[in-house]
């Protein structure tokens, strides 16, 4: 830069920018403070789902492995053509848990039902079958009309 401006540049350079207010530093401090871990409520949903998936995977692997050990020659080369052939829903039990009041003020009955869902697959070529039963709990809210 020109010599003309050297003095002015030096003078400007000597000016020190004003320090941020203490309040700004406190705000940054709050933002950068370590955060406490939030309660992991999602685990209560994710863990049963993961357990169900794991159980399904174990069943599948065992089913895949068993015919191979017992009769390797009879097993078709292609992947098994399993098809769902039946789905059953058995109501195992039911319990009336009394009356509840819905958000809109209407009364309703709360019923807790235990079901056993069963799905059956079959391979028409080898007559192999797989049956998978899963317990399921269902809570039903049935609006009540007193008229």
């Amino acid at each position: 830069m020109d010599d003309d401006f050297r003095d002015l540049e030096a003078e400007l350079g000597r000016l020190r920018p004003a320090a941020p207010r203490r309040e700004l530093v406190s705000r940054i401090e709050r933002d950068l403070a370590p955060r406490r871990a939030a309660p992991r409520r999602w685990l209560w949903v994710a863990m049963p789902a993961a357990a169900a998936l794991a159980a399904a995977a174990v069943l599948w692997v065992r089913w895949e492995a068993a015919p191979a050990r017992e009769a390797p020659a009879a097993r078709p080369a292609a992947t098994p053509a399993m098809k769902p052939v039946a789905v059953r829903d058995v109501l195992v039990g039911s319990r009336d848990e009394g009356y509840v009041v819905l958000a809109d003020g209407w009364p309703a009955r709360r019923l807790r039902e235990a079901h056993l869902d069963t799905i059956i697959w079959k391979d028409p070529r080898s007559a192999a079958s797989l049956q998978w039963s899963v317990p399921r709990e269902e809570i039903r809210i049935v609006p009540v009309n007193f008229q």
């Binding site: 003309d4 401006f5 002015l8 000016l15 920018p17 004003a18 320090a19 940054i28 950068l32």
Partner: protein, 169 residues
């Protein structure tokens, strides 16, 4: 430009560079509160996620500050158009008081305030932000030669303003 140490605490780093960031932020915002907001936003983001990135930390932070400043200025302009009677805020001094007297500092601040914004921002980035012309040009999306000429115009205008002020007492 000063190197950045991984082990340095954010407070030490901010104490050293915060004033420069705030001064540059004030070139792109209309109030001190907005400037503080953009410095806070940019610094927290930088410290949490960007301090491991390659490059000069101050240049990176100035880029963030400028973007945030321009965003907030656009939002403010839209809001100001709706709320025409908004009260003007006292901006506060740009620089610390000089031990030899405050008149000269006040005159320089006043002259800076009358510079065209595109000249003032180059001046702020170069002198107080410590950037080179190439870095300032990169920040502003202009050729380095344009940054250099704006800087020169800014100095010429400042000198003219300050000389006039001296002549008129």
């Amino acid at each position: 430009m000063e190197e950045f140490s991984e082990n340095e605490s954010w407070k030490n780093w901010f104490n050293r560079h915060g004033p420069k960031l705030l001064l540059c932020a004030r070139q792109w915002t209309v109030s001190m509160a907005d400037a503080e907001d953009v410095v806070q936003e940019a610094f927290v983001r930088f410290w949490r996620r960007q301090r491991g990135l390659a490059g000069e930390p101050l240049a990176l932070l100035l880029t963030s500050v400028r973007r945030a400043g321009l965003d907030i200025a656009r939002r403010r302009m839209r809001r100001a158009a709706r709320e025409a009677g908004a009260m003007a805020e006292e901006p506060g001094p740009l620089f610390e008081r000089l031990p030899e007297g405050d008149d000269r500092r006040a005159a320089i601040e006043s002259a800076l305030g009358r510079l065209p914004p595109e000249q003032r921002e180059v001046l702020a980035l170069k002198i107080w932000g410590g950037l080179t012309f190439a870095q300032a040009a990169d920040q502003l999306g202009i050729p380095p030669s344009t940054a250099a000429s704006r800087y020169r115009y800014a100095l010429a205008a400042l000198r003219h303003e300050l000389t006039s002020a001296d002549c008129h007492g």
